[in-house]
């Protein structure tokens, strides 16, 4: 069974951590309690889950422009995910990841939220010639 999945784009550093997976969107402002480090939007499939140090594997970037600052602010307080893996990014996630020097990859040939099991140990290399996520 294939356990490596290639993305079209990536930025940031190599990361290895446990995956937190859901077929749902991501916005730092709409979805998170950034002080407690948990998903706080009641309708979100990860509501109540801690994202601290986890590789978030989600469907699409959602919400407003605030995430572009918020990833930087979350990193400064040390309460942030290890990386973000999305089927579809939007410019705000890319801009936020660039400012925070945060690891993100996006754009797969399959639905990455179906390919990675929740809780799996994963490795991400965004700087590889073809950026990838691999189940360890």
């Amino acid at each position: 069974m294939t356990s490596i999945f290639y993305a079209r784009s990536g930025m940031g550093r190599k990361v290895r951590a446990q995956a937190l997976v859901a077929s749902d969107g991501f916005s730092a402002r709409y979805d998170l309690d950034r002080i407690r480090g948990v998903f706080s939007r009641p309708e979100h499939k990860l509501a109540g889950e801690s994202y601290r140090g986890r590789v978030l594997v989600l469907d699409a970037a959602k919400g407003g422009v605030a995430t572009a600052w918020m990833l930087h602010e979350m990193k400064a307080r040390g309460v942030m995910p290890a990386a973000l893996v999305l089927n579809r990014a939007n410019p705000i996630m890319v801009q936020g990841a660039a400012l925070a020097e945060f690891t993100m990859i996006s754009g797969f040939d399959l639905d990455i939220t179906k390919a990675i099991a929740n809780g799996a140990e994963v490795e991400i290399d965004p700087q590889a010639e073809r950026p990838f996520i691999r189940v360890v």
Partner: protein, 419 residues
């Protein structure tokens, strides 16, 4: 990305370290998103409330603000989205002194960079409405979608760091909605009912946003019975962007790029078509109202209210008294007219509070809820209702009339408002 001589010089640091950082940031973003080069922009609009910036973001701005003046000034007019407070009302909102201090520090730093503190998310109604084909670097999703769709201008969602970068370099990476190829319709929505109230336009935006699902989608509406006004377009677009991360829509026969439907239809492709009617809009509103019989406060915000919305609100409050907090948030450009024309006095004599230069969800909404004991909130803004769930609120989407009625009845919702 292909760079001009001037861009290469910026990258080499010849225009100072801030412009060097800015163009590196833009190259990083542009490379990820497939930009081949840069496009000059005429304006930037910067979201920089301190709830998003945090202390780390403010300190980051303050570091750049210490540079010599020629190295720190923006090159194209750069204006701001709402702040995190209205200084005149911070105490009443029970915002903490540290929030107000942080806000003052952010303002000082941004002003040192040459940024105009306009503090508005309705600049397209009040400051300098964009022109068709104009390339921009706008932040605030509601500003971008209105400018792209209603004005025919060209901008991607530019978060604070990227909008600031565009202000400093005078350009932005050419990807997404700067390119013709991404501005064509990707799906169609056939309407069997035309919304009337602003909350209904917002609810329609929410439904279409959920159908869209991501930034690359360009929904195109068919079947509207009349031309929507600017505030209707504003609520529809803001909700569509909020629910769906959408930056461009067309309305056949109405918006400038879709005066002829064929102009925005991709050649040789059949587009999926969705049907939306009155029942769908009522269902979205009912979903929020379920099991809520009473609210703690009423908020009109997101986007900031236009002069005409303020007039409508003042008219609904005439001769009545609110018995729970009612907050009406407008821009610093509209507020003086509200004062001059007596609208502020009419709203406040009924017990409401007129706020200026902030937006409710960008103003420490979670901390305000905890300090004031607020949880259940009524608004006519679908965007606000969509956002506030994550901040611990139980929001309800009602018409402006229903919101005012609840505010004057101790928060109790009428039978109609409860769905």
């Amino acid at each position: 990305m292909k760079l001009t001589d001037e861009e290469a010089a910026m990258r080499a640091g010849e225009f100072g370290p801030l412009r060097q950082w800015a163009i590196e940031h833009q190259i990083s973003v542009g490379s990820y998103l497939g930009a081949g080069d840069f496009v000059p922009v005429t304006q930037a609009h910067l979201m920089a409330d301190t709830e998003s910036l945090g202390r780390a973001g403010v300190e980051w701005l303050e570091g750049w603000a210490k540079l010599p003046q020629p190295h720190r000034q923006v090159r194209v007019p750069t204006i701001t989205d709402p702040r995190g407070t209205d200084f005149a009302h911070a105490q009443r909102l029970k915002q903490q002194p540290w929030m107000v201090d942080l806000e003052r520090r952010a303002i000082a730093a941004l002003e040192a960079l040459g940024v105009l503190m306009t503090d508005t998310c309705i600049n397209y109604q009040t400051i300098n409405p964009p022109v068709r084909g104009e390339h921009l670097a706008y932040g605030d999703t509601g500003v971008v979608i209105y400018s792209n769709s209603v004005c025919g201008a060209r901008s991607n969602f530019e978060g604070g760091p990227s909008a600031l970068s565009a202000g400093l370099t005078g350009r932005t990476p050419r990807y997404g909605y700067h390119l013709d190829v991404h501005r064509q319709a990707t799906f169609l929505v056939e309407l069997s009912w035309t919304p009337r109230a602003l909350n209904e336009w917002g609810a329609l935006g929410g439904i279409v946003g959920r159908l869209a699902g991501d930034y690359s989608q360009v929904p195109t509406l068919l079947g509207l019975e009349r031309v929507p006004g600017p505030d209707e377009m504003k609520h529809f677009g803001a909700a569509l962007a909020s629910f769906g991360s959408v930056a461009l829509f067309h309305i056949a026969g109405i918006t400038p790029e879709a005066t002829r439907l064929d102009d925005i239809m991709p050649a040789g492709r059949d587009l999926r078509t969705h049907q939306i009617g009155e029942a769908d809009i009522r269902a979205l509103q009912a979903q929020y109202a379920k099991d809520v019989g009473e609210v703690d406060l009423v908020v009109f915000s997101a986007p900031q209210l236009s002069l005409l919305e303020m007039q409508m609100l003042a008219g609904l409050l005439d001769g009545r008294s609110t018995t729970i907090p009612l907050l009406a948030v407008t821009s610093p450009q509209v507020k003086p007219d509200c004062d001059r024309l007596g609208l502020t006095a009419r709203i406040e004599s009924a017990g409401g509070t007129v706020l200026s230069g902030m937006c409710f969800y960008q103003s420490y909404a979670r901390e305000m809820a905890e300090a004031n004991g607020w949880r259940r909130l009524a608004s006519n803004s679908a965007k606000l209702v969509n956002i506030l769930g994550g901040y611990g609120y139980r929001p309800v989407l009602l018409s402006m009339e229903e919101c005012v009625a609840a505010a004057c009845a101790g928060g109790r919702l009428s039978a109609g408002a409860r769905g």
